[in-house]
Symmetry: C2
Subunit: 366 residues, 2 copies
């Protein structure tokens, strides 16, 4: 068999994908991935370092990470027996698509949103039903209602607070959707610690709701790649059948259990980030952006007709932000993560200089 | 929506699965999961412990683990640019099924083999084409040849050395299959360090061959959940599109890179395990088993009409082996992993007592 013949055997839905990619870049201030800017303290990490040495590496992790699942249920309010853990909420999303989306199944999602939804929906050969957010980029309940009526049994994927726009659904809005929707609804709450409402209490009432969460954002554990999903225990038992056995390594499992015992520190830091978000938002409004979108997450979306030069000016100072302008409806948009107070101040100083003209003039000259 | 209605929305292919499960059990000698019985030395683990403390937990791993991939290519002989890493070879198997198996695509595999193949094939709604191994449980080339002719474009999954039978394909046999097969062939070489031939050199010639490997067996890294696959770089670029971004945590990534620098120690230990396998095999032949199957892996399959009582007698001594008797063709079969010399001797002492009558009599009485 020659290479062309081999390539032709790969599913068209996969070959048709544009690979998701992020170029590594040098930086001193990293405001491009919505990470928590505060690392965990040395003494907590050192505890894990000791566990690394004690724990045998040659033995499989437990078949079911019962302790971690129980701790997650206690922490999040998810039902006991209704939790699955995986390598980031990405794995949880894939698991749900494998459970609910047959070839051609409609999957409704709003756009712009987290780009991996569409990548996986299309890659698996399900049928993407994107609903464009209206001007203002808030959730559009009438449009969701219409899609729900038009696509009975569709899977719906909602992100609240939404990445990269920052807006949330209210509890009433989600209830309204869940009452009308005759399919499953995956609610990605990766950013919920920063704002919006907590959907876990709705799980008892709505067996067609699944909530996903992550350790990558508020929990300052992006390096661990740990996410989880929660739902009705009878539904979770079925979904669990298609989960890969031994999907979680011992390190991430143990580290996550450990971090859940430090909720106090987490809450303090989240409060700092939220206060910084307010300072950053107020500042951004004072600058000549074309739009600044209110956010309940740890990032703020702005629109700026000079975005290419602004990105360059920031890069020159070692500050990375995320250019999301290739997403639908996001012409000229940048997403700026909330960093430490110092980092945010560096960002503001650079933006101030840029708009006050000096950096802008320099950029023009190049 | 009520719960029954919700459950009915889960794909039939998933609901129909019997969950893969392994009950946790107390043990002193663990010969049930084909792990390498020798853990890594403290000083190597301590190096990782230090990295745990230094490395920020709040930051994502690199988008592409280039260093690890390059080290894996160097170690294994896989082509540079032709490697993907994942959470165990399970994730690699799923990735390949997502890349090649549409709904209803025939997937040929021999049985008995690693049970996760069938679980995923059926769960994804592809069409399982199991070929039963003949008496002796060696690969049956004529049957594979017929299946290849009958199912043009099928995906083929072969395991060599095969779990749980221990037999391997020869290079000539694999070449013969690859020449005739008009689809992709996934060759799972989880146990290749213990025997059989290394298929990596065939990748250049056969763009429809993909090889998977793992750190869970010879590499004594089951806790890390790290596997990789290798293939023609142009094919790998396509498959990579449907891989989840950031699938590997920083711990497993760094630990794997580190372990690859200790190939000398690995080879020594693999040599010990192989020598122990020979001792174990010779011993098993002296006992009244119904069959003892020759193995090129780190386990041996036996058939024993008294297997239930033998398992109980072993358990009473804290020795775990794997009862694989529910697999097709494996009535009364047990799979015994190779442990340390001490562990293997404990196993032999218990088996000797059992067959010499004393333990057998006790078991009868209960």
């Amino acid at each position: 068999m020659n290479l062309d013949e081999a390539l032709s055997l790969i599913r068209g839905s996969v070959r048709g994908l544009k690979a998701y990619h992020l170029e590594p870049e040098e930086y001193s201030v990293k405001l491009n991935q919505n990470e928590n800017p505060f690392d965990w303290p040395q003494e907590i990490k050192a505890e894990m370092g000791r566990y690394c040495v004690e724990r045998p590496w040659n033995r499989y992790p437990p078949f079911i990470p019962d302790d971690l699942k129980a701790a997650l249920a206690d922490y999040s309010g998810a039902p006991r027996g209704g939790v699955i853990v995986g390598n980031g909420s990405n794995e949880m999303l894939l698991l749900l698509l494998l459970s609910f989306a047959d070839k051609g199944t409609p999957v409704i999602f709003c756009q712009p949103t987290f780009t991996v939804y569409r990548l996986l929906v299309e890659g698996l050969g399900a049928s993407a039903v994107p609903l464009s957010l209206p001007a203002g980029l808030r959730y559009d309940l009438p449009a969701i209602g219409e899609a729900v009526s038009a696509h009975q049994g569709a899977l719906m994927v909602l992100c609240s607070p939404n990445n990269p726009t920052g807006g949330s659904l209210t509890e009433d809005e989600l209830r309204e959707i869940l009452k009308r929707h005759r399919g499953f609804c995956l609610l990605d709450q990766a950013y919920v610690e920063f704002g919006g409402f907590d959907a876990m209490p709705l799980l008892e009432e709505f067996p067609n709701l699944i909530v996903t969460r992550t350790f990558s954002k508020a929990f300052a554990g992006a390096a661990l790649r740990l996410g989880y999903l929660a739902g009705n225990p009878a539904v979770i038992r079925e979904i669990n059948k298609i989960k890969l056995p031994y999907n979680i390594n011992f390190f991430s499992e143990h580290a996550a259990s450990m971090l859940l015992r430090h909720g106090g520190l987490l809450r303090e830091r989240v409060a700092t980030i939220k206060a910084e978000r307010d300072i950053q938002y107020d500042f951004l409004l004072t600058q000549p952006f074309d739009a600044v979108y209110p956010s309940e997450a740890n990032f703020i979306l702005v629109r700026c007709r000079e975005k290419t030069r602004l990105v360059e000016a920031l890069k020159a100072e070692g500050i990375l932000v995320r250019d999301v302008s290739s997403s639908p409806l996001l012409d000229n948009c940048l997403r700026i993560s909330i960093g430490t107070p110092d980092e945010n101040e560096q960002f503001r100083a650079t933006v101030r200089s840029f708009f006050s003209g000096s950096l802008r003039r320099n950029a023009w000259k190049e």
